[in-house]
Amino acid sequence: MGNMFEGLGMYPDEKMPERPLECGECKKHIAFQYTEMVGSAVVQNCMCSECPVLARKLYGDRPNEPGEGISLEGSTELMCGNCGTTLEAVRVGSALGCSVCYEVFEDILLSELASMGKIPTRLVMTKKSQLLHQGRVRGEAVEISPSMRLLALNEALSEMLKVEDYEQAARLRDQIKTLTDQQEQQEDLRKEEL
């Protein structure tokens, strides 16, 4: 992460770090920086390596020449028939328009997620048939079981005691007690029912 907090202080005139450099179009990490004359103004631009906007500026809409480095595949007008979202829009990080977009753009979504760093690296090279989702499915009522919660609370309690944070430890103890009492009551009720 680098020294992201360097130079931070309580006074507004103190040096504040700049935002991490990101593509002006796609919000991905930049690969190129260039200066452009727009009318009489000089504009500094930062763009990522896959930015279709940069590709269009450099090469227009002509097909990509071998060895040019930037793919122009994005300029082919692949579009979601349901909502009109284009491939280029997806590549510059615009919002997807509907569920069908996930089917239409399926082939590039994984690489988009990988370039944003938003998917675990172990999943980047998965086959198309392989499922990526590992969480709940529709309608599944997964609640954290009380015993799992007790385990987590006890773990946190011993951590707090280790660092002598007795205030937090007392609060955790209260939570453990409430949860244990609830479990005991439920157990009693179950026994009574039997």
Partner: protein
Amino acid sequence: MNNNDGKDIPSRAVACLKSPWNDCHNTIWLASALRLHRNIEKFKFPSKLDAERKKQIIALVGTEYLKQSSTSPLMLKAEDLSFLDREYLVEHFLLIESFNQMGIGNAFVIDDTGESLTLFNSEDHIAFIKVSTQPEFDVSWSELIKEEVQLGKKFNFAFSSRFGFLTSDLSNCGTAFGASAYLQLPALIHTEKINTLLETELEDNVMVTGIQGNPSEVVGDILVVQNNYTLGVTEENICSAVRSFATRLQNEETSLRQSMKTSPNPLLMDRVSRAFAVLCHSYQIEAVEALNAFSLLKLGLDMGWVQGCSVAELNRLFFNCRRAHLLYQFEGKTLQEEIPHKRAEFIHKALKKVSLLI
């Protein structure tokens, strides 16, 4: 606050929102927040819907949601809320997005707990948000899932077996679930020990950012630890990764404070003294400067360098000094250019009994 007919009631509802921050005694782990996004299968996502369609979703889904809720929910339409009300909601729920662009077809649901906000047609059709002052996620998670499952019985959520729950922002698909821990770490930040910690300990599955969503701008020494992935991980993995890293940071901050009690750090003592001076003697003060100084004052209180107030009072001040909260206290009658002065006056009054012991 708002003279327009019909706009007064929503504004009052927002102003009456029960604040979990009024009784928050947390020194380091200030708050926890969860967020769950869902879209209704048959509809395009909100960015592709016109106002009429959005209204239809609110009529269908919003009404059902209100019917199912057990916590006296109240639906507020975006067009009935002033910009100040929206900013108040952003501050109250520790959000990073702005609601300024919301208009006809957008709605918010708040309830009497003051810890729950449900957005309709913002980025996705529904965004369930829970915020709490407890340093854990389990209770909020159970509540969130209960609401989602109930609503899911009536409406099919957009879902694919490969990408999980489908969201308009690709980086939210999968679980469409986010967990955040808000940690106030003045000792680690001002001694710059945080840099080493983040360089060596931060794993790929969590990320750290500032309270305004910018990782390089830390306000009030608050770091937000949140999950980096929503796809390819389970909801339990997400909670446990965030909890584990947040606990690690909390412990490091506590240990550092303990060690400073035996060997005081002159740099930090100086910063706390300056923070005290800025808060008690400035004629006008901007929000960021005030929040940064409050964090140091809170550290001073914990270290025994400051007396005359409690952690809960400082936490309350921390929230009440942000722009919308402050303006609400003056019933919106303060001019924009007067705010820094009004803030300074407000702080002087609140810290009247506070004194420096170093």
